[in-house]
C-alpha cells in the first residue's frame, strides 16, 4: 500500500474507534457536571449494545435498533440517578453494582435467546454514508466524510453540547448544581430535576455508544462485548476536562492507540499479540498521568444533595 493510503485508513480507523468512547464520554461529562458521578458507563454501554443488537436482529430496522440502544442505556442511567438522588446512595457503589447487573443481565438474556452456539448470531451493519462533494476532498474527505451515520452524529453532538454548555441557561444551571447545589437551589434552580435530565443525556449518549459497537462496528453481540470501554470513556472525560471537544480529542488519542494495536497485531510480527493489546490501556494510564495538577472536578461531584443539610 502507498504510505498516504496507510495514513488515511489509519486516521479513518482511529475515528471509528473513538466514536463509542466520545459518545459515552460526552454523556458522562454531562452527568458529572451536574454532580452525578456514574462509574456505571460500562453498564450503560453494555445495555445499549445488547438491546440495539437484539432489535436489529429481530426487526432488521436500524432506526428501531438505535432507539432500543438509547432505551437500554437510559434504563441504567436513570436507575443510577434514582438511587443516587432519591436514596442518596453511594454513587460509586451503585455504579459498580450496576456493572455486575448489566454484565449478568445481557449475558443471561443473550444465552436465553440463542442458547450455546458455536456461530455467533449476526446482523448486517449500518453502512457508510459518504457525504456528496465533501467526501471527494482528498484525504479529509476519506478520513472524515466517508464515514457512517454515527460519526456525523457524534460530531454534531459535540457541537451541540459545546453550545449547550457554554451558551445556554441550561449549561449554566448544569454547572451551578454541580459546583454549588445549595446556591443553585437558593437561586431557584431545581437541583434534582436538572440532575435527572443530566442522567437522561448520559443514558442516551452512552446507549448510543454501546449500540455503535454491535450494530455499526461488529454486527454481533457477545458476553462482555464492551470489555472495559466504559471505564476508558471515564478516562476520556477526565482527560478532556469535561469539555466536548476535549473529550473528542481524548477519545481520538485512545482510539488511535486502539487502531494502531490492531494493525500491529495483524502485521504478523511474531510478538505475542497481548503486548499490543496492552497498548491502549498503557496509553490511557499515561494520559491520566498527564492530568496531574490540573484536576477540575465539579465541587459537588458524587455528593448527594440534601436540602436540609448545610
Amino acid at each position: 500500500m502507498e504510505p498516504i493510503v496507510v495514513v488515511t485508513t489509519f486516521f479513518a480507523a482511529s475515528i471509528r474507534m473513538a466514536i463509542p468512547l466520545a459518545l459515552a464520554g460526552l454523556g458522562e461529562s454531562i452527568s458529572e457536571k451536574s454532580g452525578l458521578l456514574n462509574i456505571g458507563v460500562e453498564a450503560i454501554m453494555l445495555c445499549g449494545a445488547f438491546f440495539s443488537f437484539m432489535v436489529v436482529f429481530s426487526t432488521g430496522s436500524f432506526f428501531l435498533g438505535i432507539l432500543a440502544g438509547m432505551l437500554g442505556g437510559l434504563s441504567m442511567s436513570m436507575l443510577h440517578a434514582f438511587l443516587s438522588i432519591r436514596f442518596k446512595a453511594n454513587q460509586t457503589i451503585v455504579g459498580l453494582a450496576q456493572n455486575f447487573l448489566a454484565l449478568g443481565l445481557t449475558s443471561f438474556l443473550f444465552l436465553m435467546s440463542f442458547g450455546q452456539t458455536t456461530t455467533l448470531p449476526s446482523t448486517r451493519v449500518l453502512g457508510d454514508l459518504p457525504i456528496p462533494l465533501l467526501s471527494s476532498i482528498p484525504f479529509i474527505g476519506q478520513v472524515l466524510f466517508s464515514q457512517n451515520l454515527f460519526v456525523y452524529l457524534t460530531l454534531g453532538c459535540m457541537v451541540l453540547a459545546h453550545i449547550c454548555f457554554y451558551k445556554t441557561d441550561f449549561g449554566v444551571a448544569l454547572h451551578a448544581v454541580g459546583e454549588h447545589p445549595i446556591a443553585a437551589d437558593t437561586a431557584g434552580l431545581q437541583v434534582h430535576t436538572i440532575r435527572y435530565i443530566a442522567a437522561l443525556f448520559n443514558g442516551i449518549l452512552g446507549g448510543l455508544g454501546g449500540a455503535y459497537l454491535t450494530i455499526v462496528k461488529l454486527g454481533f453481540f457477545q458476553e462482555n462485548i464492551t470489555a472495559g470501554k466504559g471505564y476508558i470513556a471515564l478516562v476520556a472525560v477526565i482527560l478532556g476536562k469535561r469539555t466536548p471537544f476535549g473529550i473528542l480529542g481524548a477519545a481520538l488519542v485512545i482510539g488511535g492507540a486502539e487502531a494502531l494495536q490492531i494493525r500491529l497485531q495483524t502485521a504478523g510480527t511474531g510478538i505475542p499479540s497481548q503486548l499490543f493489546a496492552m497498548f491502549p490501556y498503557l496509553m490511557t494510564i499515561a494520559a491520566l498521568l498527564l492530568t496531574i495538577g490540573s484536576a477540575n472536578d465539579p465541587a459537588a461531584l458524587g455528593i448527594p444533595y440534601d436540602r436540609d443539610k448545610r
Binding site: 453494582a97 449478568g104 505475542p272 497481548q274 484536576a295
Partner: protein, 342 residues
C-alpha cells in the same frame, strides 16, 4: 430493641426481593422452579465434595476481599484486585521456576512473600498516584487489571512458557511450592488456612493497631486527620500496599493450591467479585468470611443449575448486582430513618 427488629425486617425484605429477582429470571428461561431450586441446593449441599468446592472457591475470594476491604477503610477504592491477583500468580511462578531446588520450608514462605510483594507493588502505583497527585484510583486500578492480564498472556508465551508443550502455559511448578492438600480427595488446600489466618491478621491490623486506627480515621475524615497530625498519604499508601498484597496472596493460593502452573484465566473475575464480597461483609474481616462463602456457594450452585436446569450461570452476577443495590437502598433508608428520629 425497636431498631434491632427493623434491621431484621429490612434484611428479610432484601432477601425476599433478591429471591424474587432470581425466581423471575428462572421463570423467564422457562425452567421448572422446583427443579432449578433443588439443583441449586444440591449443587451446594448435595455431597461433601460439593460443599468442599464451595470452600475452594471461597479461598481466593476471601483473600482478595480482605484486600479490597483494607483499601475501603482509608477510602482507597481498589477495583484492581484482579490485576493484583495475577501479579501474585506471576510472582510465585517465576520464583518457583527460578529456584526449583529450595526445600518447602524455605520455598513456601518465600513464594508467599514475593506474591504479597508483587500484589502490593501493583497496588502501590495507584496508591501513590492517589496520595501524591490525587489521580482517581478507580480508573487507574481497572486499567492496571488489563495490563496485568495481558502481561500474563505475554509471559506464558515467552519467558515462562513450558518448552515441552505448544500451549500458552508455564511448566508445572516444583512440588516444594505446592500447598498441602488438606482433605483429599477434596481440593481444599492450605490456602484456606492462610486466608483464615489473614482474617485474624487484618482484624488485628485494622482494629487493634495504631496504623489501623489511622487508616479508619483517614477513611472517615481525611481533612480532620490532616489537621490532627495523622499522615494521610502514608495511611492511604500503606492500605493500598496491604490490600494489593492480600489480593496477590489470592493468586499465590490459586497457583500453589490448585493449578500448580501459570495459565491464562486462572481467575474467572475473582478480583471483581471480591469487591461485592467486601461490600456484603461490610468491610469487616469476619463479615468477609461469611460473605465469601455465601458468594462462592451462589456461584457453585448456579453452575449446577446451568447443568441440570439450563439456567445460565450469569444469573449469579445479576443476583449479586441486585443484592448490592437492594442493600444500598436499605442502608440509605435506615440512615434517613435515624436522622428523622433524632
Amino acid at each position: 430493641m425497636k431498631r434491632r427488629d427493623d434491621e431484621w425486617v429490612s434484611l428479610l425484605v432484601v432477601t425476599g426481593a433478591t429471591l424474587l429477582v432470581a425466581f423471575g429470571l428462572i421463570a423467564l428461561v422457562g425452567s421448572n422452579l422446583m427443579v432449578a431450586a433443588s439443583s441449586f441446593l444440591r449443587g451446594i449441599f448435595g455431597s461433601s465434595y460439593a460443599m468442599s468446592e464451595v470452600l475452594v472457591r471461597a479461598t481466593p475470594l476471601m483473600l482478595a476481599a480482605l484486600g479490597v476491604s483494607i483499601g475501603f477503610k482509608t477510602g482507597f477504592t481498589n477495583l484492581g484486585a484482579e490485576g493484583q491477583l495475577y501479579m501474585g500468580a506471576i510472582a510465585i511462578t517465576a520464583t518457583a521456576l527460578v529456584f526449583p531446588g529450595l526445600p518447602p520450608i524455605v520455598m513456601i514462605p518465600l513464594v508467599i512473600l514475593v506474591g504479597f510483594a508483587a500484589g502490593g507493588a501493583w497496588a502501590l502505583i495507584p496508591g501513590f498516584l492517589k496520595a501524591r497527585f490525587s489521580i482517581s484510583e478507580v480508573i487507574m486500578t481497572i486499567m492496571l487489571n488489563y495490563v496485568a492480564i495481558n502481561l500474563v498472556g505475554i509471559l506464558v508465551r515467552t519467558s515462562l512458557k513450558d518448552p515441552a508443550y505448544p500451549y500458552p502455559m508455564s511448566p508445572i511448578l516444583p512440588e516444594s511450592a505446592n500447598f498441602m492438600q488438606m482433605l483429599p480427595p477434596t481440593r481444599i488446600h492450605a490456602g484456606l488456612v492462610m486466608a483464615l489466618l489473614m482474617v485474624i491478621a487484618v482484624h488485628l491490623l485494622v482494629f487493634r493497631s495504631r496504623l489501623g486506627f489511622e487508616m479508619r480515621a483517614v477513611g472517615l475524615n481525611g481533612r480532620a486527620c490532616l489537621c490532627s497530625g495523622i499522615q494521610v498519604n502514608r495511611a492511604t499508601i500503606l492500605s493500598a500496599i496491604a490490600g494489593g498484597g492480600l489480593a496477590g496472596l489470592a493468586g499465590v493460593s490459586e497457583i500453589a493450591g490448585l493449578h500448580h502452573r501459570l495459565i491464562e484465566g486462572i481467575s474467572p473475575g475473582f478480583g471483581y467479585v471480591a469487591i461485592i464480597v467486601a461490600l456484603l461483609g461490610k468491610n469487616h474481616p469476619v463479615g468477609i468470611v461469611f460473605a465469601s462463602i455465601g458468594i462462592a456457594a451462589l456461584q457453585i450452585g448456579s453452575m449446577a443449575m446451568q447443568r441440570t436446569a439450563g439456567v445460565p450461570t450469569s444469573i449469579a452476577s445479576i443476583v449479586m448486582g441486585a443484592l448490592i443495590l437492594f442493600l444500598v437502598i436499605r442502608d440509605s433508608r435506615q440512615s434517613i430513618a435515624i436522622l428523622e428520629g433524632v
